[in-house]
Symmetry: D2
Subunit: 273 residues, 4 copies
């Protein structure tokens, strides 16, 4: 695919030296590695190399949702790909899904989910902070996802006027406070997800869910480690991420007539059923 | 949503006691917890409880792609949700993507990817084992994804007649042997992924990629741990999965004229750029 | 070294099939692999192979503290080697150390610590449960550590009459309830350790320590993973331990005159100072 | 215990701001936090606070082996406490043990082991690099362990004149090249340990051991994660160590008469026998 005026390009030198930019008729881009004549990129193919004024090579990479999220404008902590991916896989998020999101933040999750559910699915996202919403809008437009997202500046505690939601995801400081409001939005057996950075949030949310007509309550943490793979000298990287967040999943049910039938979830290694 | 004849239902008692079944006019289903009158499920809403003949409660859960994969017929090792999710997130797999898969196996990955790229995207998947292909077909039909997948019984080492692929994923015992063939199928800056259960496979594949016009070579392992979250008594589960596979990611580039410009990937914590 | 009457021997076939026994003139030992003529072991060297009646090979291994702990009689959850080792390394436990232990349990930790601090060091261990104490005594005698341990059947909440302790370690359900009593027993800058299986216990103990004249408060968890190392086919094991316990470390100080000087411990990666 | 002339003191402000020093009649010590009048420390108790010239509080901590190792002079990569501890726990290293060490390096492991095996045990350590040996000597003297260690400037490949060793530990780039020489030094069922930073070293060493009359071959990696424990806000630290080294353990046996009896070690979760 060719680069044209208005295209986004990830200028890639190494994993630590890369820049996301929009191609315009503006003549030059100044980087740590030298100057790049931006107008000359028009008509070039993604994957091509270009030389900076200092003779360094930079590759023209077509940005993926991953790149857009990692380089997005941030007012809040983003949700990282290692967690985004598992949220999609665990909930069965797919093309056509109708999604509710409480806590838009910087829209990293919104962007990712929109890229999957479009063109027939839709994300309804709620936040009360106008600044966050402004940043979220810009990120969604940059990622070309804005058409699949409706941003509502509304406090979800007051109730949420969405119904038949496939997946509801909550990213608030106190997720347990909207469990009941979210319940009403979900279709039967619809998926509930909450982002819980602390153990305390996880504990409170799990407890609320247990007494709120949900089953398959599943609390996890995802850890990712890089491996330096070289012939004869392969070993994991010296440093790694210790923690981003815990995730809690559950599914909405209609309560049985007799409360004692509610079965508490016992610990299982769910990946290896 | 209502259950009708031919619907799939996940009968959920607990995470360890659940069954995936197709609703037919067949009268009964026998489980460890008693007998369920299947025909009576027709017309019921997902999320509803039903009682077995022994009075146990089971919930009618609408199966997600996750459920279908975890309960799929298997002739080969499946790829688990913790890895599926990150593959999607890291490559920017999205609605409309054109995907090449080498090594169909039991189609767990194929199913997951199809659920995301449809209706306009497509998966071209290659395998040489007729038995695996037969199982894959059945799993894809059960998941209603077959329309978005073309299964080719063909040895990829002979060359692959697909072009402009957004994401290519290789699940073979020797992924490095198809790196060149896959290169030709990818669009410029398209994503390459390989499933490498052993360190040796990871090492060989990384080395091949380094000398084969790819950048952003990234080797990772994803670990997942369950947390038993109970008020006043929260702790991680005693056992966890130690390992499923390593994953290696890279992006196709067109080589610069001077080979010394090729920059080796240094180790980074990519999640926290 | 030679085996004699009364020696302990670990009969080792594989990591999963091994038995700890005491050599007596009793004629036979029956195992899954056949019968072993025990009296014939007398005079043999450790490391030698013997054949069972079914012709299987078993090795005569001289039991280490590790073996004795893993095969000990248990009334309570033992503390595992991955945690025992770090407790020793982090506190500087060494030959000659004077140690206080609250909560003797099955004496796995007591045994390990005694093996290090002897012959001049000593462990003073407290428990209120006579059954646990009986088991602990037997384990310590079997490990030949009993001379270096004084077991006190006494409630530590009433006060502890030991002074100038180098290392104090607490293994109770509510460790924060003895922090003050332990404070009095420690020498200046002596080490405090608590075993905290849940995050709640860790949180409560850390909070109590922060307001109780301790510094260098350090909460950790140790994870261990096995690697199956085979030429050309090396990979981590499929399953691993998810969690045994959290550990919390601190050092006793005498408070400065002005309370505001107390500095809260900020998060650090202590291993890589 | 009181501080006197020649004592070592760890001046502790926080985990990231601490200094190890020797108390002399030298008047002042300059730190980031102000000046400390060193001679005034003489006669003070460990655990006491002192004020710097800028009024900051620093605590006088009695250094443990841990502190001495973390603050030691380094010409080579040290072995970290998380690995030191498990080496001791897994091998049954204890008071009185006779230890062989190949590869003295900066003597972090030597120091730790000497602190445990003294006064009757001994470490025989081998290195061929005179610079490393010089640094090792200084570290051992500073830690007051030099009397329990014999440093041999000798190439172990030529053969090692030590016998009846309880624990032999190898820290070389190519540990498999001394497996046979180490075999001769070990007592029957004595413990072998190798430090293997890369998977390749681990693989080669494991393979060599499998064909060299050892059993209970066990390859592991230890991971440590810090938890930020605060009331109502507990969560793991954002960053953690990804990797230091793999460890491989084994025990010496005398070979059975029939080679087919040699049983390959199958994968087990050893901690939970």
């Amino acid at each position: 695919m060719e680069i044209h005026e208005g295209s986004y390009v990830l200028l890639f030198h190494t994993a630590r030296k890369k820049w996301l930019m929009k191609v315009t008729s503006e003549k030059k881009m100044h980087t740590h590695l030298g100057v790049i004549d931006v107008s000359s990129l028009i008509g070039m193919k993604y994957g091509s190399p270009v030389r900076t004024s200092e003779g360094k090579i930079v590759y023209l990479i077509e940005p993926t949702t991953y790149d857009l999220i990692m380089k997005s404008e941030r007012k809040t902590q983003i949700i990282y790909p290692k967690d985004l991916g598992f949220i999609a896989a665990r909930t069965g998020l797919k093309n056509g899904s109708k999604v509710l999101e409480i806590g838009t933040g910087s829209a990293s999750l919104t962007t990712f989910m929109a890229s999957i559910v479009k063109p027939n699915g839709h994300i309804y996202t709620f936040d009360v902070n106008a600044d966050f919403i402004a940043v979220a809008k810009r990120n969604l437009e940059k990622a070309q996802m804005i058409d699949y997202v409706t941003i509502c500046e509304h406090d979800p505690h007051q109730g949420i006027d969405i119904r038949d939601v496939d997946v509801a995801i909550v990213d608030l400081g106190d997720p347990w406070t909207v469990v009941d409001q979210v319940y009403d939005t979900l279709k039967g057996s619809g998926a509930f997800v909450a982002i819980c950075p602390t153990m305390n949030q996880l504990e409170n949310t799990a407890t609320k869910l247990k007494f709120s007509r949900y089953v398959d309550i599943d609390c996890v943490e995802m850890m990712i480690r890089n491996i330096e793979a070289r012939q004869g000298m392969t070993r994991p990287s010296t440093r790694m991420i210790g923690h981003t967040t815990y995730l809690i999943f559950a599914r909405k049910i209609m309560q049985p007539s007799n409360k004692e039938d509610y079965k508490e979830e016992t610990a299982v290694i769910r990946e290896f059923d």
